[in-house]
């Protein structure tokens, strides 16, 4: 009798019928039309001058024009500040309603608010801040007329770096809450009890166990917050009208063509943004690999 062995090469391959691909067609279409094609257009455009000829001039300008470098720097600063501020504030809020043991209805209310606020940006957000913290905003007026505190005389200006940062924080911290609440829920009660049982105090537990466990989530959230602020355009434009020349406003000026018109340079600046985000993500991946080495 002959014994037949079914080897891997002889085993029937899983059938990949054409029908199985139909479900993902819309996604690929979307990705091609709105991610890959625009990215390719951006890349090619950054090597093209106004006459359609190949050039390195746009890329060279990124490194030689002080106003472009300053815009990148400003965008990076504002993104880093709001990522850090929103991150810390959001983390503390998420902590309070999860591990902190505040009443459950408060948690539901905060999560619902965060879901809405994290998507509240652009012209409506700018208008909301002008109406509240602008020179004639009602919070400004209440502080001045009721409490005798004139914020603007004290140096505050909504249309400054601080004002824009404050406005960005409105959608930054809720995003952090949304991401961190489930991560904090994932901290097992037994870890804390085991640590205490072994003699650790609260600080030792947080420094040696909880924070290392949460670090990948915190880092990932911060990068997301950084990207969220780095790519923002409408909020800053509607609030400051271009007085704070962050990089997205500079790109808008080159592409829109009211005063300046060099789409190639705009494309190159956008490529610069992609590059900066790529560096951030690479940094995140590196940190994640270091902090998550204990995960599967």
């Amino acid at each position: 009798m002959t014994q037949t062995t079914l080897t891997a090469s002889k085993m029937p391959a899983p059938r990949s019928s054409f029908k199985n691909w139909i479900g993902v067609v819309p996604f690929f279409l979307f990705a091609i039309l709105f991610i890959f094609l625009p990215s390719a257009r951006l890349f090619i455009g950054s090597f093209t001058d106004n006459d359609g000829r190949f050039t390195f001039a746009n890329l060279i300008e990124l490194f030689t024009q002080p106003y472009i470098l300053n815009s990148y720097l400003l965008s990076i600063r504002i993104s880093a500040v709001t990522a850090l501020g929103g991150g810390i504030f959001g983390f503390l809020l998420a902590y309070s309603v999860t591990v902190g043991g505040l009443p459950k209805p408060l948690r539901s209310a905060l999560i619902t608010f965060s879901g809405v606020a994290s998507n509240f940006a652009g012209v409506p957000l700018a208008f909301a801040f002008v109406a509240t913290l602008g020179r004639t905003g009602f919070v400004t007026a209440i502080l001045k007329n009721v409490f005798g505190v004139d914020m603007y005389q004290a140096g505050f200006n909504l249309y400054s770096f601080l004002g824009l940062s404050l406005t960005y924080m409105y959608f930054q911290f809720p995003l952090m809450v949304l991401i961190m609440a489930p991560a904090l829920d994932g901290l097992k009660r037994e870890w804390r009890e085991a640590a205490e049982n072994l003699g650790a105090n609260s600080m030792q537990y947080w420094l040696r166990i909880a924070m290392p466990v949460l670090l990948p989530s915190i880092l990932g959230s911060m990068i997301l917050l950084f990207g969220n602020a780095f790519g923002a355009y409408a909020t800053a434009y509607a609030l400051t009208g271009g007085r704070l020349p962050i990089i997205t406003i500079q790109i808008g000026a080159q592409v829109r063509g009211d005063v300046l018109h060099n789409p190639g340079l705009g494309n190159a600046m956008a490529i610069g943004m992609v590059f900066i985000m790529a560096i951030s993500l690479a940094g995140y991946s590196w940190l994640q690999a270091k902090t998550e080495r204990w995960l599967k």
């Binding site: 640590a195 072994l198 204990w294």
Partner: protein, 353 residues
């Protein structure tokens, strides 16, 4: 001498009483199990010893030092959790050394102690592995080593084997007992598994609805349960209603069938209704052995359980189980056949409520 002492300990959660008037003295090196169904208060009692719950009333002392209000991190009590609770961001060695590290012991001492613990649990080769790289049994051994590394006064084990499969459970419980005896550490073990409690413990505390039902050695708990609950919870048991016929002679009547019991019935009088219990393995067929009680029966059912054969017999109108060792060379009785069974006076237990 008493090492761990719980005196009049109660715990209330609002209107609910989880533990009521719990009194227990545990000797140094003793292995005591809290046995009972879910919600009987055994884990709450353990958590009060650990300091994770504060007793509503009563006191807990180790070596006569009152620890009732001490924080968990000041009690020097080691605990092994049901779900291991290993720190996922630390290797096996780091987990074991954690307690020593937070106590700021010398690094060389920590290294030596970790090596010693790894040798005890036989996981030297896994020192640098992370918890996710271990099996359930290995994780629980690491958790045990971590709890023991701090040289605790008392070791608490909260259903440590319930998440493991049957074979590993049996192997690991023997390992836990061997380590406990080797180190001479006082241990409190919470379980709902009677076999675990019987095989591991020096003494068992059977708990029901927050109260201690019976405290005794495994031998006492199994062979001489004092309440219906203990009798039913520990091992398989036949129970039936009966009536006292002659208290002085220990005679009782079950459905017209008279049994003699060794239980002291002096406090009962003729005609008292009582609950009677007989372990299945205490019955024998008359042809094998003759004891004080010889009664007629009918074979109702036969179930093969591997090493034993469980036979259901009808005595009077009551059905009883009897267990006999599986002997492939002996013929089993036929279902429906009439026979006689026997059991000793000591086998017939008259229970309290």
């Amino acid at each position: 001498m008493t090492h761990l002492s719980l005196t009049n300990v109660s715990k209330h959660f609002g209107d609910f009483t989880a533990v009521r008037d719990f009194n227990l003295d545990v000797k140094k090196g003793e292995f005591v199990s809290f046995l009972g169904p879910s919600g009987c208060g055994k884990t709450t009692t353990l958590r009060m010893i650990a300091g994770f719950e504060t007793p509503s009333t009563g006191s807990i002392a180790i070596e006569s030092v009152d620890i009732t209000n001490k924080a968990p991190n000041q009690r020097n009590v080691g605990m092994v959790f049901q779900a291991y609770a290993l720190f996922p961001n630390m290797t096996v060695a780091q987990n074991i050394g954690f307690g020593l590290r937070v106590r700021k012991e010398k690094e060389s001492d920590i290294k030596d102690r970790v090596a010693e613990m790894l040798a005890i649990i036989n996981l030297e080769k896994k020192a640098d592995s992370y918890p996710y790289q271990l099996s359930g049994g290995q994780m629980q051994r690491v958790a045990l080593a971590r709890a023991l590394a701090i040289r605790p006064e008392v070791l608490l084990l909260d259903e440590p084997l319930s998440a493991l499969d049957a074979k590993i459970r049996v192997a690991l419980r023997a390992e836990i007992r061997a380590i406990q005896q080797k180190l001479g550490i006082t241990a409190i073990y919470v379980t709902h598994d009677q076999e675990e409690a019987l095989s591991l413990s020096d003494r068992i505390v059977v708990m029901r609805e927050g109260e201690m039902d019976q405290v005794g050695t495994p031998f006492e708990i199994y062979n001489f349960p004092t309440t219906v609950f203990v009798a039913n919870f520990v091992g398989t048991l036949n129970t039936a209603n009966a009536e006292v016929v002659d208290p002085a002679k220990g005679l009782i009547n079950m459905d017209g069938v008279q049994f003699a019991s060794a239980t002291d019935l002096k406090d009962r009088k003729k005609g008292d209704k009582v609950r009677v219990a007989i372990r299945p393995e205490r019955f024998n067929f008359v042809s094998q052995e003759k004891k004080a009680n010889i009664v007629d029966c009918t074979i109702e059912n036969i179930t093969f359980l591997g090493s034993i054969v469980r036979i259901q017999v009808k005595i009077g109108n009551t059905k009883f189980y009897m267990d006999t060792f599986n002997n492939p060379f002996l013929e089993l009785p036929r279902i429906g056949a009439k026979d006689q069974v026997t059991c000793s006076r000591e086998a017939v237990l008259v229970l309290n409520d």
